[in-house]
């Protein structure tokens, strides 16, 4: 080792800098190992057989044609599958129980609960053989009556009750009466379709049994939940289960839960005694992992003649599966955005014989904001007020619903900055008044809002005498640049050079990290890193004192004077009483803080669209998003997260729709040719600006950037389309047939 490399490592400003990704090289060269890249000797491949009916009992499975194919090792059905423990009942008292995607004990039952449920697994020498064998399996069903049509079932939706962490409804004053007596009002119905995440990497699991111990490479957003879930289902001591998830090829919420593929890969490996890779086909992802629920929404707004809101009503209906799912928080932002005197929000759910609905980027806000922001635009139009002006007149000082404090709120600034940079004032307000040849041109705005969370994170931090720092934490890298950000946070906290920091992540052998959800990973792990750094510094100071060294000496010097090669500190406990205490502390802090503050990232979305006057084709031609995400840890990766959210929002606005056959409950466009995500030509240059001021109540001031970018996008586009054409489309996606 050369000594000369150390002095060149001079500390630099690291927080907020657009540092290149630390894993950029391995990803672009293909060296990064994703869950399907672990080519164990003797690796076998698995393929699923999906039910073709929505609700039934399996009366017969004919596997003879599959069994007889050369290269097939096992055909596993409910007749011969090993018995598993049933999925636990989800409870907030034990958060990892939320991991189960559905309540179905796959291949341990002859019952079919949705069209697409896995009913058999084939394990073979190659993927091709496995898939061919899967196609040869014939399943006979006794069909049972099923409820699969959202629209038909809508009248049977039930109001959601309030629970500790999820509010079904709420009110302030009498919004119904206020709406009636308002000077100006709108009362509108909106709908949004089912959507799927469509991460580039379909869910993939490689499962390896080593005697009684299990190692699983799984693209997951929650290593700890996955590990605990597998231990429970396969009745294993927790220490015998290792989950490795070094790189995840995108997830967007779709890999938060443990879906069938993960479980069945482990089953397949158990039955065959070989390492098994189960990579879902794209169709398999649609059939076995839950997408975003469809919704119908009502937004009614009343205002006085000056545009001061007197009534805000937002209600929603969403779907859950009879086998699981959760109440989508569609109306959540309507408690926080506008200073209405009277507010009424209420969510409803209906239950279908479908797979459980899943969380997808900004669950709730993404679709709820479409309705709210489009309704605000309609109200502005009625009032003959500029839509930004209407929002500013109703921008609250405190949380409108209950008067809680905003920890930080940069919306006024975001709109002011955005309006200037976008040249908002250049528009002529009348709809259909701007044209460029055959294109009708329009501009629109909408507000983005996403709550900020902090979850427990355990880390260890180790300083070596040569100045190297190693941080270990089982967090998740799904493309957002997590390892890069935490390298920066560590370098910042310890005032050491970036290249002296190494981060280990993505493995259940590491201290337990937070799930990658709720845009909370950066804040959560940052807090643990800051705590660890403080501990480390304190320990070093003590060490210095003991050895009569000045505490101002370089850490390496302090260590070597003390005769130490390294010093390590830990934050948080992974097991035992320490873990329990940590959870209790987390819950009580969470509840205490939630009583006091509303914490959220927010932003202003500006867009320009062009609509073909003959055909109704919509093209988004300009985009500017100005966001308040608190502290920006890395300007490049933060902007990419926000941009990615906007691209996904453009998809939701203009094309994405999972089509479910109303008779069979079967998804009919389970592929990327017919489920229309945006292509490059659909996405304009996207300008991003972050206000950058820290949130005083959040670790490092970070509010989170992963989800807020998608929020408001569909609303801004719908508003721009109205400005261009004079037409209101209240049902997503805004396809051209709705504009003819």
């Amino acid at each position: 080792m050369t000594q000369t490399s150390i002095p060149t490592r001079t500390p630099q400003r690291v927080l907020g800098e657009p540092i290149d990704r630390v894993d950029g090289h391995v990803k672009t060269t293909g060296a990064a190992q994703y869950s399907g890249d672990h080519l164990y000797p003797d690796l076998a491949h698995a393929a699923l057989v999906h039910a073709t009916v929505p609700r039934a009992r399996i009366t017969h499975i004919d596997t003879t044609a599959a069994d007889s194919l050369p290269g097939v090792h096992a055909v596993i059905t409910h007749h011969n599958a090993p018995r598993l423990q049933p999925p636990p009942k989800p409870t907030l008292l034990n958060l990892p129980t939320l991991a189960a995607g559905t309540s179905v004990n796959y291949l341990n039952t002859d019952e079919v609960h949705w069209n697409g449920q896995p009913v058999a697994v084939v394990v073979a020498d190659s993927l091709d053989i496995a898939r061919e064998a899967a196609q040869r399996i014939r399943v006979t069903y006794e069909e049972l009556p099923a409820t699969v049509d959202f629209e038909q079932e809508e009248p049977n939706a039930v109001p959601q009750k309030n629970s500790a962490l999820s509010d079904g409804g709420g009110k302030k004053g009498d919004a119904v009466a206020a709406l009636k007596s308002a000077d100006v009002s709108v009362d509108l119905r909106f709908s949004t379709p089912m959507q799927h995440h469509n991460a580039i990497e379909p869910h993939t699991t490689t499962a390896v049994w080593n005697g009684k111990a299990l190692t699983v490479h799984d693209g997951t957003q929650h290593i700890d939940w996955t590990r605990r879930h597998l231990a429970l289902r396969f009745k294993l001591p927790l220490n015998d289960v290792r989950v490795i998830s070094t790189f995840v090829g995108g997830a967007f919420g779709g890999k938060t839960n443990v879906w069938a593929g993960t479980i069945l890969a482990v089953v397949a490996a158990k039955v065959t005694g070989r390492p098994v890779k189960l990579a879902l086909s794209r169709e398999g992802v649609y059939r076995t992992t839950g997408g975003r629920t469809p919704s119908t929404q009502r937004v009614a707004l009343g205002a006085d003649a000056d545009g001061q809101l007197t009534a805000l009503i937002h209600t929603s209906v969403t779907q859950m599966g009879r086998v699981g799912g959760y109440a989508e928080q569609v109306v959540s932002q309507s408690r926080h955005l506008y200073d209405a005197e009277n507010i009424l929000v209420q969510q409803h759910q209906l239950t279908l014989d479908s797979i459980a609905n899943g969380v997808m980027r900004a669950p709730g806000e993404s679709i709820g904001s479409f309705a709210l922001e489009a309704a605000m635009d309609e109200l502005a139009h009625r009032l003959d007020l500029d839509p930004i002006e209407l929002r500013m007149r109703n921008e609250p000082d405190r949380n409108p619903m209950d008067g809680k404090l905003f920890a930080r709120r940069g919306l006024r600034e975001a709109y002011a900055r955005g309006a200037e940079r976008f040249r908002w004032a250049d528009r002529t307000p009348e709809p259909r008044s701007m044209r460029d040849g055959r294109w009708l041109v329009g501009t629109g705005v909408a507000t983005a809002f996403h709550p900020a969370w902090v979850f427990p994170a355990n880390v260890t931090m180790r300083l070596s005498a040569d100045g190297d720092v190693l941080v270990r934490c089982g967090f998740h890298e799904m493309g957002m640049g997590a390892a890069t950000a935490f390298t920066q946070v560590t370098a910042h906290a310890l005032r050491v050079p970036l290249d002296s920091v190494r981060i280990e992540y993505g493995d259940s052998d590491l201290p337990i990290g937070p799930g990658a959800g709720g845009s909370a990973q950066t804040a959560s792990v940052s807090r643990a890193i800051l705590d660890a750094a403080a501990k480390l510094k304190k320990d070093l100071a003590a060490l210095a004192r003991r050895n009569n060294t000045s505490p101002d000496e370089a850490p390496a010097t302090i260590l070597s004077r003390a005769g130490r090669t390294h010093h390590e500190v830990a934050v948080g406990a992974d097991r035992g009483i320490g873990r329990l205490a940590g959870q209790v502390r987390f819950m009580s802090t969470l509840l205490r803080e939630r009583r006091k503050y509303v914490k959220a990232a927010c932003g202003a979305q500006f867009c320009e669209v062009r609509v073909d006057s003959d055909t109704g084709e919509v093209r988004v031609t300009r985009w500017l998003g100005v966001f308040d995400i608190g502290t920006v840890v890395n300007a490049k990766t933060a902007a990419s997260q926000l941009r990615g959210g906007i691209v996904m929002g453009i998809g939701a606005a203009l094309g994405e729709e999972t089509l479910v056959d109303g008779h069979t409950g079967r998804i009919v466009n389970a592929n990327l040719a017919e489920y229309h995500v945006p292509v490059h030509a659909d996405v304009p240059r996207i300008d991003i600006e972050c206000l950058g001021d820290p949130d005083p109540t959040m670790p490092l001031g970070v509010l989170g950037a992963g989800e807020v970018g998608i929020v408001g996008v569909a609303g801004a586009i719908a508003n721009a389309v109205h400005h261009a054409t004079g037409l209101r489309v209240r049902d997503l996606p805004i396809t051209l047939d709705k504009l003819l």
């Binding site: 196609q135 084709e617 079967r666 009919v668 030509a681």
Partner: protein, 326 residues
């Protein structure tokens, strides 16, 4: 994916002979449709005869002045060829409006003509489909999703749309499909090549079981120099047509002397708009003529609630496309 035997043919005679003597064999062009269909358990050939090495991969002018495109010419190559770009711009535009760059680099013009419908239910073996399994019924007509389905040339058995963009331009251009088989050569006018579903939706073309497409011939057609393909779809690129229009127009002193019009996205086969053409011929080249012609063509459309928008969309797109050619 079902296993199959793979063989290559080096000459046309070799290909035709192998096909005639091998049970349950299929020609393999670029494979961009056939391989997908095998994966989806819809086509089940035992043998694939790779014909991409046949010397039929170029575009040339023949003595009559017509242009011949070899059946194995890749879509990208055909679209980029100067003879096509200058004489038949509508064809270049149609090909480039289809699929993606990668797919067009693989796809052959013969395979493009024979690509099968993208009807969701045709692709899902869990759904009944008369095209896939004769007599099984039709999930689309039985209350399924029909937004992408055809409104012209439909039958009570099938309303699946023909997905090709290229074939729509060929229909407008009066192309001729040349084939070869053990029985000899044939020339099939493009309008006689694809069949409406009628009572036999599984039978899609007039091509014989073992017949090999060797070339597509484009006749001398001066009006084609003033031609355009306009494709309307759900995103900017990489989506099948909701409506597409291939049009060529020749005018003299404000009157239409020659008009060619074909439609995609609306027909069960590439739709030559003969009714509209007869309205156009000799009429003044004005927007109102174009609209009248378009409406006449769509007047026979069979609409369902989901796809009813295609009629007005087609009228608007035809009118706009013809107007842009004046």
């Amino acid at each position: 994916m079902r296993r199959f035997t793979y063989v290559t043919a080096n000459t046309v005679t070799d290909a035709v002979k192998t096909k005639a003597t091998t049970p349950n064999a299929k020609y393999l062009g670029g494979g961009t449709n056939l391989v997908d269909l095998i994966r989806a358990d819809i086509e089940h050939p035992d043998t694939l005869i790779d014909i991409t090495r046949l010397p039929l991969a170029d575009v040339e002018e023949i003595s009559t002045g017509a242009v011949r495109i070899g059946a194995l010419t890749r879509n990208s190559h055909a679209a980029a060829h100067p003879l096509i770009r200058t004489r038949y711009p509508v064809l270049t535009q149609a090909i480039l409006a289809g699929a993606s760059g990668q797919l067009r680099n693989m796809a052959t013009v013969g395979g493009n003509l024979l690509q099968r419908t993208r009807c969701h239910y045709f692709y899902d073996t869990a759904a009944p489909c008369n095209k896939r399994s004769p007599g099984e019924g039709c999930a689309a007509l039985n209350g399924g999703y029909t937004r992408n389905h055809a409104v012209l040339g439909t039958s009570r058995n099938c309303i699946a749309t023909h997905p090709s963009d290229m074939a729509v331009a060929l229909a407008a251009l009066d192309a001729v499909v040349e084939t070869e088989s053990a029985e000899g050569n044939r020339r099939i006018p493009i309008e006689d090549f694809h069949k409406p579903p009628g009572e036999t939706p599984y039978s899609e073309t007039t091509l014989g079981e073992n017949e090999l497409i060797t070339a597509i011939e484009l006749p001398v057609l001066p009006p084609a120099r003033n031609s355009r393909y306009r494709k309307v779809r759900d995103r900017s690129s990489y989506a099948f047509a909701l409506v597409s229009v291939a049009a060529a127009l020749e005018t003299e002193n404000g009157r239409i002397t020659n008009a060619r019009l074909a439609l995609g996205g609306v027909g069960t086969h590439p739709w030559r708009a003969r009714t509209a053409e007869s309205v156009l011929k000799g009429a003044p080249a004005t927007e109102s003529t174009f609209r009248e012609a378009a409406e006449a063509e769509l007047s026979t459309a069979t609409l369902l609630p989901d796809n009813a928008f295609k009629a007005p969309l087609a009228v608007r797109t035809i009118t706009a496309t013809l107007t842009s050619l004046t």
